[in-house]
């Protein structure tokens, strides 16, 4: 009896350990595969061409700068929409709304998160982009802005859901302490609750941005996919081409093992490194602020 219990314990802990490690193994394997297919680009494409401003692969123009700037432009735009909206909604749900409202809002927001991106893309083509063209008097509505707004919409549910959990986890005593000192409701939220939950809120923002940067279908449908070097803010109102859309649009037809094929994997590698950088930055910030607030508030 004793022995079989020990044996079961042993098996279960090992299995759980395996699940934990599998995430690391998968990420490592994916990166190794990306490297294997992407690194040959360095031998096949001169750096001067690879980091130039023209992407037209069927004539051997492999400049990836427009794609990188396109992705950054759309993602920054998405963050601009999603962060205030997402955190605002999370604060309302967690701190202000009555109980019954919260019971309605939270599932609705999560439902929004389950909306297929291709459906959002369709709405973008048929409703958002004609509206933007008319409203802002643009040549076309298929712009980085349209992509940003939809990606913002995709990132909001993630941000709301995670940030709301973080705010909810702040001990009630913190708020009561602030009220006891005469702080208003807003002062309590802004000076006490939000800072106390800051690591969770920051995680929410990073998860949201991570969701936006890797999104493919929606951006391919609404950003127009013109490989223009997007260096100024005005490019927000013109078409751009993102890295994800490029891979999705071109991978299907490319000859296996060709220069173009390797370059698409190279773009995948760059995308992977960008997400990794965002995550590492976020974790280190979270780690530092956590220590600081733990010091102050405990």
């Amino acid at each position: 009896m004793e022995k079989s219990l020990n044996f079961r314990e042993f098996i279960i802990t090992r299995l759980i350990k395996l699940c934990g490690y599998s995430a690391i193994v998968f990420v490592a394997l994916i990166f190794i595969f990306l490297m294997k297919e992407g690194i040959p680009t360095f031998q096949e494409v001169e750096p001067g061409i690879l980091f130039s401003a023209r992407w037209y692969p069927i004539e051997d123009y492999f400049g990836i700068l427009p794609l990188i700037t396109g992705t950054i432009m759309v993602t920054l735009g998405a963050a601009l929409f999603a962060i205030p909206l997402g955190i605002g909604a999370a604060i309302y749900i967690s701190e202000i709304s009555p109980r019954w409202m919260r019971e309605i809002l939270k599932p609705l927001v999560e439902l929004l998160g389950g909306l297929p991106s291709v459906v959002l893309g369709f709405l973008g083509i048929l409703i958002l982009s004609p509206f933007l063209r008319g409203f802002l008097n643009l040549p076309t509505g298929l712009t980085a802005l349209a992509g940003s707004m939809l990606l913002g919409g995709i990132a909001v549910p993630t941000i709301v859901s995670v940030a709301e959990d973080a705010l909810d986890a702040v001990p009630r005593a913190y708020r009561e302490g602030a009220w006891a000192l005469g702080a208003t409701r807003w002062q309590t939220i802004w000076r006490v609750t939000l800072p106390a939950a800051s690591s969770g809120v920051l995680t929410a923002v990073m998860l949201g941005i991570g969701r936006a940067i890797g999104e493919t279908m929606t951006v391919m449908m609404v950003t127009g996919n013109a490989p223009v070097l997007a260096l100024s803010l005005s490019n927000l109102f013109s078409p751009v081409r993102t890295m994800t859309a490029t891979i999705a649009a071109e991978m299907g037809e490319v000859a296996n093992g060709s220069i173009h094929y390797h370059t698409l994997f190279f773009i995948g590698m760059v995308l992977f490194l960008i997400s990794l950088a965002i995550n590492i930055t976020a974790s280190s910030v979270v780690f530092r602020t956590k220590k600081r607030y733990e010091r102050i508030l405990s």
Partner: protein, 279 residues
């Protein structure tokens, strides 16, 4: 129903098992849907013929023909001299059949007053020389250029025939701000709602509520709208023949199949799929 139709069929199949003919058909992605539709219909009427159709591109199909691994190669371009030579070296004489035609219509929003353009003007629009519709006789509006993605055969055809005016030495490229849309549908939706837009698409895919541009080969020459007539008498300049190639003069089942393809029956399918019938 199932029983009565089943038993004679299996008997027929058993009887003809030895005489079943297999036809391998491979090549152009432009033609693949058409070739599939033909094969499906033909196999329905001729249960003893099995046709396998695959895409992969015109070059892939012709390479397979040169290596003798397919019976029929589909191509949206004519076979090149070096390909004929390579085939000859393998003892194969490619024989050409024109099986359909494909026209590219240039489309704009119905609110756009421009209705005629020369090939040179379209080239200048797409390469970024012209950026406003008033440079080609239209209103004072920015031009929004729409194109298919670079992996589309239509994109390459448009680049070679329109942007580069069919000149081998011409290295004109699409303006970088050309919108590359992943589907025909995307182009049609944008042209339908945006009076600034210009796009192109296979003639059969263009809905009636969009405006087709009449095109002249050069300045001073007559303008033609794309239609079955203007494609067949070769007056509409952005049209191409679609081909099938066989290894030598076809015989037996392949010959019967190709004869059927040029029949009125099979050519009706061509029109239904948005291509131009050859008869």
């Amino acid at each position: 129903m199932a029983v009565s139709s089943c038993s004679p069929n299996t008997e027929a199949q058993a009887a003809s098992a030895l005489s079943t003919a297999y036809i391998e058909n491979k090549g152009s992605d432009t033609i693949v849907n058409l070739a599939l539709a033909w094969a499906e219909r033909y196999q329905n009427d001729h249960p003893n013929v099995r046709i396998s159709v695959t895409g992969g591109g015109s070059g892939t199909g012709l390479a397979a023909l040169i290596n003798g691994t397919v019976d029929i190669a589909n191509a949206s371009r004519q076979i090149k001299a070096e390909e004929v030579q390579a085939a000859n070296e393998n003892g194969i004489e490619p024989v050409e059949f024109i099986i359909a035609r494909d026209a590219i219509a240039v489309i704009v929003n119905p609110a756009n007053p421009v209705s005629m353009l020369t090939l040179r003007q379209i080239s200048d629009i797409y390469s970024g020389v012209f950026n406003n519709w008033n440079q080609v006789g239209g209103e004072d509006r920015p031009i929004v250029r729409l194109s298919r993605e670079t992996n589309s055969g239509t994109h390459v055809y448009f680049l070679e025939t329109v942007l580069r005016l069919g000149e081998k030495e011409n290295k004109t490229l699409f303006s970088t701000d050309t919108l590359l849309l992943p589907s025909s549908e995307g182009i049609i939706i944008e042209v339908r709602q945006n009076p600034n837009a210009i796009g192109y698409d296979g003639l059969g895919y263009v809905p009636v509520d969009l405006k087709k541009i009449a095109i002249a080969e050069a300045e001073g020459m007559p303008f033609y709208l794309p239609s079955i007539e203007s494609v067949n008498d070769k007056t509409y300049p952005i049209a191409r023949d679609l081909y099938m190639y066989t290894q030598g003069q076809p015989e037996g089942a392949v010959r019967d199949y190709l004869d059927w393809i040029t029949s009125v029956d099979a050519q009706a399918i061509v029109a239904k799929l948005g291509f131009v019938p050859v008869r």
